[in-house]
């Protein structure tokens, strides 16, 4: 009870800080320097229509690399955590009901569509909302569906690992190419910018986002698979 009271008191303090932030908050009337630069320069410089994508993949590409690394790390650690000590426990007996026919058929039908949709989302990230992360998540949900329909099926850990590694290496590699061929690490202008608004434009952005999408999809799949397989080991 004392703890609850203390928490309320402290959160009142934090709330006061937040209130202070809000009271002092004056919405901008015009874009600030940074945002104006992005609004004006993204199209001519990078050839991307989606400014958010341009920022994520190129201007703040280092953040994104870090972000992808976060997922990589999480997947690796989830694997580590779950692998830890599990070998010495007796495998649990599975007595789940077998998946229904409906789910199986549905999965077979839906999976290709989902994967395709995911791929669409990440390849068009520079043009429309969406991109590698969203696309990757969609791909992972396809995997999830597979997990649900074949709960006992062993997944190709190896395939997932190879996809995530290759995608990661490719991301870093493209970044390094930026140093060699363009203005610096993660510069997307190693490829021609192409025609504004088309699929194959904006330099390396679609390529990077594809790898990001693959990697994100692989990481999430790896996490899900690891979690789902914990009891089978």
């Amino acid at each position: 009870m004392i703890k609850r009271f203390a928490v309320i008191l402290l959160l009142l303090g934090i709330g006061a800080i937040f209130t202070g932030l809000m009271v002092n908050y004056v919405p901008d009337k015009a874009l600030n320097v940074t945002a104006r630069y992005y609004a004006e320069q993204t199209a001519p410089d990078l050839g991307a229509a989606n400014i958010v994508t341009a920022i994520i993949v190129t201007y703040r590409g280092l953040d994104t690399l870090g972000e992808v690394t976060v997922l990589f790390l999480t997947a690796a650690i989830v694997g580590l955590v779950l692998a830890r000590g599990s070998s010495d426990e007796a495998p649990a007996r599975r007595d789940l009901p077998p998946p229904g026919e409906l789910l199986l058929t549905g999965t077979r039908l839906l999976l290709p569509l989902i994967l395709l949709f995911g791929a669409y989302v990440f390849t068009h990230g520079h043009l429309t909302p969406g991109g590698g992360f969203q696309g990757g998540a969609i791909i992972a949900s396809g995997m999830l569906l597979m997990l649900l329909s074949h709960p006992l099926r062993r997944f190709g850990h190896r395939l997932i690992a190879i996809v995530e590694s290759i995608a990661g290496l490719a991301f870093v590699g493209i970044g390094v190419l930026g140093i060699a061929l363009a203005g610096g690490f993660l510069d997307n202008r190693i490829l021609p910018l192409g025609t504004f608004g088309e699929l194959f434009s904006a330099g390396a952005i679609p390529i990077i986002y594809t790898f990001v999408g693959l990697k994100v999809g692989a990481e999430f799949s790896s996490m899900l698979v690891n979690l789902s397989e914990t009891e089978d080991l």
Partner: protein
């Protein structure tokens, strides 16, 4: 304009309600998780209103979708462990 604000208010009330539902210790964990996912989903609608479709997509796919699944995966394992 007013429509937007009205929607935003509705969403806000919805989010706060679901958030409280998610964090109150009284309900079952499953409901908490669902409520948190719902709050996240409502937030993604809010993002759309705020002119951030990219964020909205991400929040919907990752924040509310995948996270909720992750929760249920673990919850399922733990529940089964509790039955042992």
């Amino acid at each position: 304009m007013n429509l937007n604000i009205g929607m935003a208010l509705l969403l806000a009330i919805g989010m706060i309600g679901t958030a409280i539902m998610a964090t109150r210790g009284k309900r079952s964990l499953g409901i908490s998780i669902l409520a948190a996912g719902l709050a996240s989903l409502l937030a993604s609608v809010m993002f759309l209103l705020l002119g951030a479709p990219d964020v909205a997509m991400t929040e919907a796919a990752i924040g509310s979708g995948l996270t909720t699944f992750l929760f249920f995966f673990v919850l399922g394992r733990v529940r089964r462990g509790e039955n042992d």
